[in-house]
């Protein structure tokens, strides 16, 4: 058995919207999609990284009261949550593919420090860096 981080999550404003974004536009696949009443446990996974799941969580009951949920939604929407990094083998090709799918890029691919990086956001406001793996 290997040890390490299994799930880390982002808050999203709408799980259906987030699912469509991460699966159809970015290239993740669904790992777990389980409902219990209003609660929905939803995680996605990058095909080449089977030991890690990215959780797509909506702030709200039963975990958060209304004011807390509103505060968390606001934090995400103003881009205040920490950026995530997606490592890819070819940044420009990944950008082209994702842009064709309608992903909103915040930074064009830029070559620097011996690699290429770009930036995009999910519909909720979570920021991502797309960084090409150093060869």
């Amino acid at each position: 058995m290997s040890q390490g981080v299994q799930v880390a999550g982002v808050y999203v404003r709408d799980q259906d919207e987030a699912l469509a974004f991460y699966v159809d536009k970015v290239g993740f696949r669904v790992h777990t999609d389980m409902r219990n009443g209003d609660f929905r446990w939803l995680t996605v996974q990058y095909p080449e990284q089977p030991l890690f799941q990215l959780g797509l969580f909506v702030p709200g009951p039963p975990v958060h009261d209304g004011a807390t949920a509103q505060a968390l939604n606001a934090m995400v929407a103003k881009g205040a949550m920490p950026s995530l990094v997606l490592q890819v083998s070819d940044c420009r090709a990944a950008c082209e593919r994702m842009r064709a799918n309608g992903v909103e890029f915040t930074q064009e691919p830029t070559e620097r420090y011996g690699t290429v990086d770009a930036g995009f956001r999910d519909p909720s406001g979570n920021g991502w860096k797309l960084i090409e793996a150093r060869r």
């Binding site: 606001a74 103003k78 990086d117 930036g119």
Partner: protein
């Protein structure tokens, strides 16, 4: 201003997401001109509401945010490239070298040349942190208007006229 928007997180997340788009556009092209009319259009907000909403969301007026990003980018170019200070001034959106040098000093407390020397000496320590994070860590924390900062530095004792944000 409504009581609602005085609350720490009182702004509508949908509005915030649209304001973030304007902030992202500044981030993506800080060398360009960003008049309020252009930013308001990106956010689908009226010009009258844009500046106030932006400041409420991000803590600084949009123009001051633009200045911090330009200085941040100039600092990165000073640190990472052999470009001349003149080239850096024009590449980061200033129309005159004098304005660049003056605002750079006002914001960071040192001249572009001095910053370049000091930063180069320290750069090796940060090699393993992603570049964008390093850059953001060097973003100037501009809490007051540039003119205000300049006046304080000059030791003015009077509370003068309300400061007009520098263009």
């Amino acid at each position: 201003m409504s009581a609602m928007s005085d609350a720490p997180n009182g702004q509508d997340p949908q509005l915030l997401r649209r304001l973030l788009r304007a902030k992202d556009r500044i981030d993506g092209a800080s060398h360009e001109d960003w008049p309020v009319s252009r930013l308001a259009q990106v956010s689908h907000v009226s010009e009258a509401h844009f500046a106030r909403s932006f400041k409420e969301a991000f803590g600084v007026p949009p123009h001051r945010y633009l200045l911090t990003r330009r200085i941040e980018r100039a600092t990165a170019l000073l640190r990472e490239t052999p470009l001349s200070i003149t080239d850096i001034a024009f590449q980061t959106g200033w129309r005159s070298l004098g304005t660049f040098g003056r605002i750079f000093r006002d914001v960071t407390g040192e001249s572009p040349g001095a910053m370049r020397q000091r930063a180069r000496a320290a750069e090796r320590a940060l090699a393993s942190v992603p570049a964008c994070i390093v850059s953001a860590a060097h973003r100037p924390d501009l809490r007051t208007a540039v003119l205000e900062k300049r006046r304080r530095a000059a030791g003015a004792t009077k509370d003068a006229q309300p400061t007009k944000e520098i263009q």
